[in-house]
Amino acid sequence: MEAIGPWRQRLEDTTYAPIAHTSKIYWVWLSFLLAVIAWGGYAYYVQLRDGLIVTGLRDRISWGFYITNFVFFIGISHAGTLISAILRVSKAGWRTPVTRMAEFVTVVALCCGALFPIIDLGRPDRVQNVILYGRWQSPIIWDVVAITTYLTASITYLGLPMIPDLAIFRDRTTGWRKWLYSVLAIGWTGESRQRSMLATIIATMMILIIPIAVSVHTVVSWIFAMNLRVGWNSTIFGAFFVAGAIFSGVATLVIIMAILRKVYHLEEYILEKHFVYLGYLLAAMALIMIYGNLSEYITTGYKMEAGVEFHFRELFLGQFAGFYWYYFIGGLVIPPLLILIPWTRNIWGVVAAAFLIDVAMWIERYFIVVATLRVPLMPYEPRNYGPTWVEWSIIAASFALFGLLITLFVKVFPLLAIWEITEQREESQTAIAESLPGVRSQLAGEPAGGAV
């Protein structure tokens, strides 16, 4: 076996540490998540037993928390695509320590999000009707096809760059773990033909997954925008949803990065600059979102049809005003300020901004769904929607499931892309050595991120 240097050994040890050691706090956290999921499971049992009458959904407002959560989770699934694929395509070297987490957030978020249309159905057995009676002309079918394709592509894209790292774990472990990593590493030896083929399919996937990801959230928006309803009848919904998805996806990634960095002591690899760079991305996306809001509401408000007036009153002054103004000020205005002002341009500033953004983006999806459905289509009194304990419980369980899947992931799979970080470090060291001959030997032992 080729001898590895102390820096590479430390990287492998750090990545392997979550698998080798399990603390008591880990079990307490796992138990808490399982308890929340179990409670959500009981709430879903109640819904299955008694029907959707146990929720706040009725014929006038038939989409509520469930569809809000569906759109939110599908949105944050864009984290992996953006960080991993787009930054890989653009050869942004700083991405390497965060790609694995981003790709995993994508897969986990898609798994959680895809459950919600089924939960919202009330009768899960009716999912088969989408297959049996689906029509290609329907946005529902586009959605099912797009999400299924994206999930398959995301799992593939998560798995491919992990193969060399799984082979490292295979060589370090014994017993059932060795068997597991042997299967997952698919006989990786690192020979040149394998490297060449892997590089080809990773490159193919990083190109392929970007249009797939964009199509997914565009199609999710078309479930709304293909209606003639006030509030949804918009031509910019596709672009607006894709921008919102990247916005909330990066915010979620920042929060997950901060937690995992603290818990698994990844400070050597995930540096402040990673948070700041992602923060800049958040600030840019916030400006795009502000522009999208102004463009959408000014153009529809200038014409002000009867339904639009009611919708705007509800949104800006009425029942949903608190939500809207929190979203606009708390989610779009304050976060970029936190990121751009030098005093708060640090890890905690960016994490605080990301938290504000995630809450705001969930709320945005809520009023896109509910405030629009509140606009009466016929002469009847506008109806109200209030989620019941069943909906709150299922929503809580979905976030617990999200946390559980990430918690289990870090116990099984390499949290950092070892070979990519190593390659990136070698490339940057070579570049430095070429520009300053004689300094290469001095760089041995320096952290990867710091050397980039």
Binding site: N129, T189, I201
Partner: protein, 196 residues
């Protein structure tokens, strides 16, 4: 004998014709339903469906009462009568609605009438034969037909995407085989040749 057979055949024919006419005109104790001419409707064209309410005792028309019209429908495994309209009887005791059939074939129409409070609902049914092209739910009249912009485009895109994913799956198998071959080559002692 021959005359007897002819008389029997004539009676049978009259009975069949009478039963056939009852398919479009039926009546309960208070209610008489009929479909206005033409009895054969066309897909997408409005047809008037009438229901006449008469007194069971005197046979006189009953004006100013409401009747509800239903059409039998099947959609997504749901099978039953769907309300298609309500109307109030005029001075001749006739209530009428306009019905636009969306599918060809025979449509069963049911008319419900509730008399005085607490009395049972009276129902009567009639059938309308609807002619037309292939069965359809919706007749599109507006829109621009762009050649190639249809479901085949979606099929084509999906074929490209899933074809690429299958190519990646096959390459993963090739990587695994290359690894196995490499492992075997390493396992063969020097001087005994290589498996590759």
């Amino acid at each position: 004998m021959k005359r007897l057979v002819l008389i029997a055949a004539g009676l049978l024919t009259c009975t069949v014709l009478a039963l056939g006419s009852a398919a479009t005109t039926a009546h309960a104790s208070h209610l008489l339903t009929r479909v206005s001419e033409p009895t054969t409707a066309l897909v997408g064209q409005p047809s008037e469906v009438d229901a006449a309410v008469t007194s069971a005792d005197t046979g006189a028309p009953v004006a100013g009462v409401s009747v509800t019209f239903y059409a039998h429908a099947t959609f997504g495994r749901v099978d039953g009568f769907m309300e298609i309209g309500r109307a109030v009887t005029n001075s001749a005791g006739v209530a009428a609605i306009s019905f636009v059939p969306r599918e060809s074939g025979t449509h069963d129409i049911r008319v419900d009438y509730t008399g005085s409070a607490g009395s049972a609902v009276e129902q009567t049914t009639a059938a309308i034969a609807v002619d037309g092209a292939a069965p359809q739910m919706y007749v599109q009249k507006a829109g621009i037909q762009v050649p190639g912009l249809n479901s085949w485009l979606i099929m084509g895109l999906l074929t490209v995407v899933w074809g690429t994913l299958i190519f990646i799956g096959v390459t993963i198998i090739r990587i695994a085989r290359a690894g196995r071959a490499d492992g075997l080559a390493l396992a063969v002692p020097a001087g005994r040749g290589s498996v590759r």
